[in-house]
């Protein structure tokens, strides 16, 4: 929770991403997280976290120059706890995921295994990975199944897994410019809303 930004394409422009992230940071002032993949990291991701005031960490995005995949997250701390372990994006197996929303009843879920120092969104990354591995389906199909488990709650997500990228939203804002950039807050007039 609560501001997302990202990129999927031939090479990210950090100045454009920072513009989008500054707007997303208005919704999530309590920490910035960033996962990006470039030629030197592929197929892995570089992960950066900055806890505390999000705006102070925006320059971490400079490291994303020419990245092909960027998943960024600005946190609103819904638990009054500010440990770095609660920042996103979350990873599980090969899944990298940033999420705006809540996972209902996550603490009682039999798959929950992380105690207090992890965001509820870790369950989503776990479930997406399980779906992909068990059923050998695309990321979009895996997310379609996982999103059912949110019981109609609103969400916005950016996910990368096994070379695929997915942006999806239901009831929460997520926008794209059609050139690979994504953000929770409109940064231009000619954007399209991301659906589920």
């Amino acid at each position: 929770m609560c501001g997302l930004f990202g990129y999927y394409g031939p090479g990210a422009d950090p100045s454009r991403l920072k513009e989008i992230a500054r707007l997303a940071a208005r919704r999530g002032p309590e920490g910035l997280g960033l996962a990006f993949q470039n030629k030197s990291s592929r197929p892995s991701f570089w992960i950066e976290f900055g806890s505390g005031a999000t705006a102070r960490h925006i320059n971490l995005i400079d490291r994303c120059a020419d990245a092909q995949v960027v998943i960024g997250h600005c946190r609103l701390a819904s638990s009054n706890v500010f440990s770095q372990g609660l920042l996103q994006p979350v990873t599980h197996g090969g899944v990298v995921l940033a999420h705006n929303g809540n996972v209902p009843g996550y603490r009682e879920d039999p798959d929950w295994q992380w105690g207090d120092d992890a965001p509820d969104s870790r369950l989503l990354a776990l479930w997406v990975g399980e779906q992909q591995q068990r059923l050998n389906v695309s990321l979009a199909e895996a997310w379609a199944a996982v999103s059912q488990r949110l019981n109609g709650r609103p969400y916005a997500v950016l996910i990368a897994s096994q070379g695929e990228f997915l942006a999806a939203a239901r009831g929460l804002p997520l926008w794209t410019d059609g050139n690979g950039y994504y953000g929770s807050v409109r940064w231009a007039d000619d954007l399209e809303a991301v659906g589920h």
Binding site: C2, R26, S79, N80, N102, V185, R186
Partner: protein, 262 residues
């Protein structure tokens, strides 16, 4: 007939009003009132310039949001403490915040509260006002200056006992140069409830909690009109026992409440 002040009504009074509002306010009269408020916002923004609204997530703020968005004002601000909010409220905010909301943290957390114990469960208006000044007003001031706004739009109403301006006006500029405009100033409690019903606006969990309609939105230590500290901890435990466990590190009263419930 004038609207009874919020302070004279109980949670149950409000609940009865809310549940029966359609018997007293027709859809057409609500729509006329809503349109007048939208027109008022449009006119004030034309006159004064760059505007944003203040959003607490509460019932009046949800109505204000609907009015402002209908008038084309989308930028808004939420002032909150860094560590003294109800987690259930913040989870609700996550799912219901306006897209262009800016969340501004003020520095109060549990350590701060331990050093300012007189602020716990305010039992007089001066302490309650201190909470509003140090959280909401402080965030509003920062936001107003950061974006060089000309006017902040608030959900204040006379029926809630709020100050909205002098001599019948619904706007004023304070000593620090912040202009505040209250388009809902003359709305009754029924008008607000009608808006929530007819526009199907979601409400945060406060209103399902003990004395919810009386207390409204607030950081948990700013919970008003508790009989004494023990009553405050008892209500907080009923709402979210985790808060009491977390506070027991600093507050013997919280520890006593945990022992009582064990």
């Amino acid at each position: 007939m004038s609207d009874p002040r919020k302070q004279r009504l109980s949670h149950e009074d409000f609940l009865r009003m809310f549940n029966s509002v359609e018997e007293r306010v027709s859809r057409s009269s609500f729509e006329a009132k809503f349109e007048r408020a939208v027109d008022d916002v449009r006119a004030r923004v034309r006159e004064l310039g760059d505007a944003a609204f203040c959003w607490s997530g509460g019932k009046d703020a949800q109505v204000l949001r609907a009015v402002c968005e209908a008038a084309g004002v989308y930028d808004c601000v939420l002032g909150k403490t860094a560590g003294l909010e109800y987690p259930a409220f913040l989870q609700w905010v996550t799912e219901n915040m306006p897209e262009r909301l800016e969340v501004i943290n003020t520095p109060q957390d549990l350590e701060w509260l331990a050093a300012h114990q007189h602020m716990l469960f305010p039992r007089n208006a001066a302490i309650a006002a201190e909470w509003f000044a140090s959280v909401q007003h402080e965030a509003q001031r920062q936001f107003f200056r950061r974006y060089r706004l000309r006017v902040l739009i608030l959900g204040r109403r006379r029926s809630d006992g709020n100050f909205v301006g002098r001599g019948g006006a619904n706007y004023y500029t304070d000593a620090k140069g912040v202009t505040r405009f209250s388009p809902l100033a003359d709305w009754t409690h029924d008008d607000v409830f009608a808006a929530i019903r007819y526009l199907n606006l979601p409400l945060p969990p406060f209103y399902e909690w003990p004395r919810g309609f009386r207390c409204g939105t607030h950081p948990w230590p700013a919970r008003q009109w508790c009989r004494d500290e023990a009553h405050g901890w008892s209500e907080i435990y009923d709402i979210d026992p985790e808060i009491v466990r977390y506070a027991a590190i600093y507050f013997p009263g919280a520890e006593r409440e945990l022992a009582r419930r064990a």
